[in-house]
Amino acid sequence: MKHMNLTRRRFMKITTSAAGGLMVGIHFPSIARASGEGAAAEINAWLTIDPDNIVSIVTPQTEMGQGAFTAVPMMVAEELDIPWENVRHVYASANRHVNNDNLYTTTSTGGSTTVSRRHPYMMQAGASARERLRVAAANRWQVPVDKVTAKQGWLTTEHAEQGTIQGTYGEFAAEAAAVTLDEEPTIKAYGDWWLLGRDIPRLDVPLKTNGTATYPIDVVVPGMVHAAAMACPVPEGRLVSYDFDAVKDMPGVIAAVELEQVKEVPAFTDLRSGVAIVADSWYQAQNALAVMPIVWDYGRGASISTESQMAEAMQLISQPGALVLNEDGNVGRRLDRGVNHDAAHGIIEASANQVIGEVYYRPFETHATMMPPCAVADVKDDRVDVWTFTQDIARSLNEVADQLGRDTENVFLNQTYLGGGFGGGYNMDVHRQAAAISAAVGLPVKVIRSREEDVAQDSQRPPVWGTYKAALGEDGLPEALVTHFVGDEKFPAFSQRGVANMPYLVPSRRHEYSAVQNHIPIGYHRAPGANSTGFIVEQMVDELAQAGGWDPLDWRIKMTEGNEPWQRVLLAMKEKSGWTTDLGRGEGMGIGVVESHGTVAGCVATVAISRRGQIFIDKLDFYLNSGYVINPLGAREQAESSAIWELSHAMFGGLVIRDGRIVNTNFDSYQVMKMPDTPPEIEVHMEMSEDQWWGGLGEPTGPPTPPAVANAIYYATGKRIRSTPLAKAEL
């Protein structure tokens, strides 16, 4: 079972760098803070040690509640070997990263990768610093380096004449900063850890209980004005004209600024055509914008609606789609494992034991991060400062530089905490808006999106439709299976991930794909592909199992034979969950299992359906195999969080498009999960395949949860719900 998440190329880069070459940021020339009495010394770009032995560890990723600001310092501290209470976390400088050949390799924060893919860099940075401290001590004490130990912030040697000599890392930091190692150390393996693997409370928690955590919306720059902006309510449409005279005398109003779209169809992060009102306060700007007459050219999107996309999808799904193969990108790593794409249709047509599926559907969903997108920009002649909603500070810095035609050396993208991210911090143009408006008015400006504008302009998770047909063999298991999923034209992968590469081994297997016309921008959405496809695949599996006379859990165990990560999860579910398809009338248990982000996640849901058809989710029980877990507390937090995230959409969500625009743009009409809807019991079991691989944990419990609930509803009521929101189903 190959579960190494480094690509071969990356792996080579790391191992070859061990021979004294450049490992990201490790031999980067230190900023001249290493000199002078009492100064903190930067050992490498990742960490600084001050004379009191306090270590400040740089986090290039953003903190949006997922724990990066704790996980990254943990990985560095593990190797550095410094007491956790001596660790402080600090933001990375995007400017330094961008202008020094991407010093930290990436500042992107998504795909559940901060630990799973970034750990070699962070651990190497800690290990390298520790070894350089040892060399520095050996040089000062005139002893061989192998006689110096570095442990818990202390360097120690047993000197032949002087006995035990000790000094803190802080005492040797300045000298260590100047050391070049002959050879880079190898990072520790699982089993050698003293810090990783323990429950460590997140460092950002206290700041978030007294209102002192700073988000972009809290940033205040002296002389700052406020702006409310509006892009065309039908995406891809354009501003024709606006009547500033009608609002220019309203209280506080300073200016209107036209937002110019350069390209015919903008990329998701390009500035979109629109207009902004600048005022003394945001309230005044928003009031004026709301009443200013604006004329739009809505473009092609005006004829697209939820109904039109549904009709188009139903038409497409009744015809053959395009074959999806392994090499078509981000899909299908298991599709080419002895399957027969071409024969599948023929086998099913000739079969006396066909199963013909109905159509499943997931609608558009939006992020609605609790902080509506917001950015502050201070554009001066010689320097630009920006604070913004972003999950990639370097990318946003580059985009601001592009927007203003400035050299990246003079652009500073200052990190703050994020009020939620969930992928929404990638396909975003609010920083471009702030930069453009600040440049136009010559003042620092804060742009805040109203919630309505946020939802209208967000890069959404696209709709997915899916169906299947199968032929069952004598043993009741499928011998041929064709799935056909319809996605949107802008991001096809979201209707392929999780289905094209599903783990169930069917001898003749084919996945087909079609796309509906779509003008709505698309973005990452905390497992957007696996969430949509998981809902469909994991109900299809229950239908296939039932048709073949198999218990749904036994079917999954049988169909993933030899797949150790899956077997570990499935067998644990069988052993510990009290699994049964027969809980009695009105109650049901259901399962869903989806592998995403390198982690196999199984969910067992227990539901009760009231006489009036209301769904109560009594319990969610998770079985997770992510290989390693560095912080079980953080892992459990993320497991609960990503499950509720997706359950929210499946139970209550669904955007409605009419005349090309999103209709339900605030929480009164776009429903999300609230405290009373939350399952009273959520259990998380870590079923780790230790010493194997690193999986992510920020997203994987989302995908199996809604199908587990829908399957449970089926066993409770006999009714199969093939679309969401589930709460609206007739039961």
């Binding site: 949006m64 978030k208 209102g211 969930f422 937090e637 499950a643 995230w645 999960m673």
Partner: protein
């Protein structure tokens, strides 16, 4: 128009449109940014403050309506981040992104002042107006019970 707001025991005389939502007066005029903007229509609870003992949504409360009343914001919950609700929130790692938590904490403080040992049902009812997209509800529910315990000792 000059309006006097009593926030966390301190009087602030401000000159604003009396219809301006209290939220923006607190954030932009007085400069206390712990109270957050989330929806503008009293649906998400991010902007919750306590006015005369009741949890209210400041985003649709006109500033004039708060004049002469006692307003408490997250900044006034405790001096040292150690109110039982704050302690329980920290102990159980309730916040994730943290953006909604000022509002959650204010709703919880108001609840516990009225009902020192609330049931799950009372908690659900009192907290139903506070949305958290990170889904920290299970931890918040547990933390409210824990805060009730801490308050007794």
């Amino acid at each position: 128009m000059s309006i006097t707001l009593n926030i966390n025991g301190q009087d602030h005389s401000i000159d604003v449109d009396p219809q301006m939502p209290l939220l923006w007066a607190i954030r932009e005029t007085v400069g206390l940014t712990g109270t957050k903007f989330g929806c503008g229509i009293a649906q998400c609870g991010n902007c919750t403050v306590i006015v005369d003992g009741n949890a209210v949504r400041s985003c649709n409360t006109p500033v004039a309506a708060a004049a002469g009343k006692t307003i408490r914001t997250i900044e006034g919950v405790s001096e040292n981040n150690d109110h039982p609700v704050q302690q329980a929130w920290q102990e159980l790692s309730a916040p994730q992104c943290g953006y909604c938590q000022s509002g959650q904490i204010m709703s919880a403080v108001a609840l516990l002042e009225k009902s020192p040992d609330p049931t799950d049902n009372e908690i659900d009812k009192a907290m139903a107006g506070n949305i958290c997209r990170c889904g920290t509800y299970p931890r918040i529910r547990a933390a409210i019970h824990r805060a009730a315990e801490l308050s007794k000792t």
